[in-house]
Amino acid sequence: MTTAIDRTEFFQRVEEVLSEPHALDGDTQLSTVEGWDSLAFVTFIAMVDDSYGAAVSVQELLACKTAEDLAALVERGRQ
């Protein structure tokens, strides 16, 4: 069973999680994203649970540096 997720769709969903508009791609450094805060973490966890059936740990979430890291985390969380 493949767990790969569509990047374009995923980055769009992450953009919706943010309270401030911010266009994302795989190389985006999360530390530069204005709305990537503790509220966004909660919304992100809800979104990946809902849209991907993925459970992610908060520690791993905090360790993500780029948007691509987030996608990889969600893929791991689906296994």
């Binding site: 503790s38 909660v42 966890i45 459970a55």
Partner: protein, 348 residues
């Protein structure tokens, strides 16, 4: 053998109120609308300086007595759930015996639980009644988390409100074929650090270091003697454990979601509740939400929601209700009752 039934619920919210407009003034980076959309909360009641959990408890209990449900001398046993007691010792429940005018032949104890406390209290009360140790149990939940919260910590100040609720449970004759209410519980101490007041007791006694205020990455200010919450971890915990907890209870009772008339979850915040509800495919009309004007009142959210559901007509006699509490510890628990009886007919 006797069974336990809920005879009356009363609650008390302290007079002080913090609105979202107040919070917007204190935290200009947050708007009133954002706070409401992310939490479902518009205002919280906050105890005055010197107003303790026990004072809120007395108010709630006196409202219950004023309803005519029971006289203080009719109480055999007082269970007080609080994490913000008056003293390390004596037990706050013992001081309440005197203040409420209960008999000296009554039992009284505190138990220290947060958002799961009401469900655990019902379990303890049922045990006391079914085993014949008491006929009338007063279960009081009372909390002043605001006293643990720094004014500059929006992560918790937006959510928590102070309150007390008093629930009278009484022995009722066993109906034919009736069984005591089913309970499921859960505990995971690995989550202890994610909702904690780290200092002030004996693991880390208060001192100059523990009183020093620091600012976190989000700009929230607190000392180690104040409440810290890792909201994302708490949310992850509820997503992991609560659906399973609900399913375990349904299996234990041999019921399905369709057999339950009303779900009353701990009112943590509306965003989290809505996500849990959708994840578990619970119908919105069977799902109780009441926190708009009181916030997350810790162990009092479930009795407050029950009382309000009763008054609004959402909760009717004979309905099957599931209560689910979860939070600090981690600790969680769930039970089913056939309102107002803490029992389900075996044949049902």
């Amino acid at each position: 053998m006797m069974r336990a039934a809920i005879r009356e619920i009363a609650y008390y919210l302290p007079e002080g109120v913090v609105t979202n407009a107040d919070l917007e003034t204190d935290f200009p980076e947050w708007s009133m609308d954002k706070i409401e959309s992310k939490t479902g909360i518009c205002s919280r009641h906050i105890a005055a300086p010197g107003e303790c959990s026990s004072d809120l408890a007395v108010q709630a209990a006196q409202r219950l007595f004023a309803s005519g449900a029971c006289d203080p001398t009719g109480i055999d046993y007082l269970l007080l759930c609080t994490q913000s007691p008056d003293y390390f010792l004596p037990t706050t429940a013992c001081t309440l015996q005197q203040r409420l005018g209960m008999r000296t032949s009554a039992g009284a104890l505190d138990f220290n639980l947060g958002c799961s406390g009401y469900v655990y209290g019902l379990g303890l009360a049922q045990g006391l009644i079914v085993s014949g140790q008491a006929e009338r149990v007063l279960l009081v939940t009372a909390e002043t988390y605001s006293k643990f919260i720094h004014n500059r910590d929006k992560s918790v100040r937006t959510l928590f409100g102070d309150a007390a609720a008093a629930t009278l449970l009484a022995a009722v004759p066993e109906a034919e074929g009736s069984i005591p209410a089913p309970f499921v519980f859960g505990t995971d101490g690995r989550g202890a650090g994610n909702l904690i007041v780290p200092a002030g007791a004996f693991r880390k006694p208060p001192g100059p270091d523990t009183g020093r205020e620091t600012s976190d990455e989000q700009g929230n200010v607190r000392s180690e003697e104040q409440l810290y919450m890792n909201g994302a971890e708490i949310f992850t915990f509820t997503l992991r454990e609560i659906p399973d907890c609900v399913n375990r209870l349904l299996q234990k009772a041999k019921l399905t979601v369709a057999d339950v008339d009303l779900f009353v979850f701990h009112q943590a915040n509306q965003y989290m509740l809505e996500h849990l509800r959708k994840k578990m495919r619970l119908p919105a009309e069977k799902f109780c939400v009441f926190l708009r004007d009181c916030g997350n009142t810790v162990s009092s959210t479930i009795p407050i929601a029950l009382k309000e559901a009763r008054q609004s007509g959402q909760l009717q006699d004979g309905q099957r209700v599931m209560l689910v509490g979860f939070g600090v510890g981690y600790s969680w628990g769930a039970t089913l009752l056939r309102w107002p009886n803490l029992e389900l007919l075996a044949s049902a």
